[in-house]
Amino acid sequence: MSTYPGTCPLTQQQLVDTYFMEHRTKVLDLAAYLDRMERSIDRNAEADFRVVALRRALQELSSPEPGRVQRIQMLLSDPTLEPMLQRDQQNAFGAFGRRDQEVQE
């Protein structure tokens, strides 16, 4: 997913007038979440793979290049293609890297 100019039928001004408020609140929620992490009673997850992935995703958000959502999807994805030998657990985590983190620990 790169640029695809002209595929959205709304003008930029219409997108701003219609959708700015709901995206404004999403940015503030994200900022508050990061602040809350820093105010935590025990800052014991600074290197958690999910937090690391989130911070990398935030860097991608500020990129001037289109295709942000696809790049962030890949940042959060397992890039390997070899099936696991056996199931580790039932549910996914939302970001890739826990197994690497366990090895380092």
């Binding site: 997913m1 959205c8 959708y19 959502v69 099936p83 199931r87 039932q90 985590f93």
Partner: protein, 276 residues
């Protein structure tokens, strides 16, 4: 606007949800077999579940004027247990002639393990032996790219597969292109948090087009929205898309895909209903 929800786990929903779906234009749902929230311990539990899907659920839907169809399988989340999978695969054929069973699904991968892949290919074999449509679940979150790639590559290497008879569901921004490029149908799931919002679903359709694309709620026992498709319709209109295009995505496309099964029919009164 009338619509078809091609993926809804109605056994987990209340009758109030059927009412909401009927009130918002739903004329048919298709319900893939899925995970109960725990791993079942015997094939007998699956037999009971398949009976629920083929008998009770269709009657419940009919009270709200909704046609209920289903897909059968052992869900990918239980695919790790190869012995159980083998037993369940043996009982599925006795349900395949039921008039509301459209095919095998939702099969696929969960954490993308060797056993899951073996169970997936066993289900594909079963579908081929009985000439069934296939409905595929692609994994969640960080496993989606890897799982989708493994599934698409596996099917593309199988000369028996007719891609137009396969729905690869839960596509997102990083997986839709590979699915459509191989000729499969792509399902976009309108599900909070772990899948796609109506806004992102519309982005995908604006970029990749409306051919071989369907949207669905995948409502189940988790936080989900049984009237997600009407929310999508509302958002499509807000984004400036014409009702003709919306109708194609929420009604005509599902009819095109599902009609490949001789069992799928739209009742005349539904077909004649006002479009928008």
């Amino acid at each position: 606007m009338k619509y078809i929800d091609i993926h809804a786990h109605m056994v987990s929903r209340t009758t109030d949800d059927y009412q909401q779906m009927a009130l918002t234009g739903c004329v048919a749902v298709t319900e893939p077999a899925f995970w109960a929230g725990y791993d079942r311990t015997s094939a007998a539990a699956f037999a009971d579940y398949f009976r629920h899907l083929t008998e009770f659920e269709s009657q419940r839907a009919a009270k709200y004027g909704i046609d209920h169809y289903t897909w059968l399988c052992l869900n990918p989340k239980e695919g790790e247990d190869r012995a159980l999978a083998h037993e369940v695969l043996n009982i599925i054929p006795q349900f395949l002639d039921h008039p509301t069973v459209l095919g095998i699904g939702e099969i696929g991968l969960n954490r993308v393990t060797r056993n899951e892949l073996a169970t997936f290919t066993d289900h594909v074999d079963l579908a081929m032996q009985h000439r069934q449509l296939i409905h595929i679940h692609t994994p969640h979150l960080e496993d989606k790219y890897k799982g989708t790639k493994v599934i698409v590559d596996t099917l593309a290497a199988d000369s028996r597969i007719e891609p137009a008879r396969v729905m690869v569901d839960h596509v997102e921004e990083h997986t839709i292109e590979m699915v459509l490029a191989q000729g499969f149908w792509a399902g976009i799931t309108l599900y909070p948090m772990t899948k796609v919002s109506p806004g992102r679903a519309i982005d995908l359709i604006e970029i990749y087009g409306s051919e071989r694309v369907c949207v669905a709620s995948a409502c189940d026992w988790g936080p989900s929205e049984p009237i997600a498709v009407p929310h999508f319709i509302f958002e499509m209109r807000r984004r400036g898309h014409p009702d003709r295009l919306i109708h194609k995505i929420v009604y005509e496309n599902p009819v095109e895909f599902l009609s490949q099964s001789p069992k799928f029919h739209i009742r005349q009164e539904q077909a004649d209903a006002v479009l928008y």
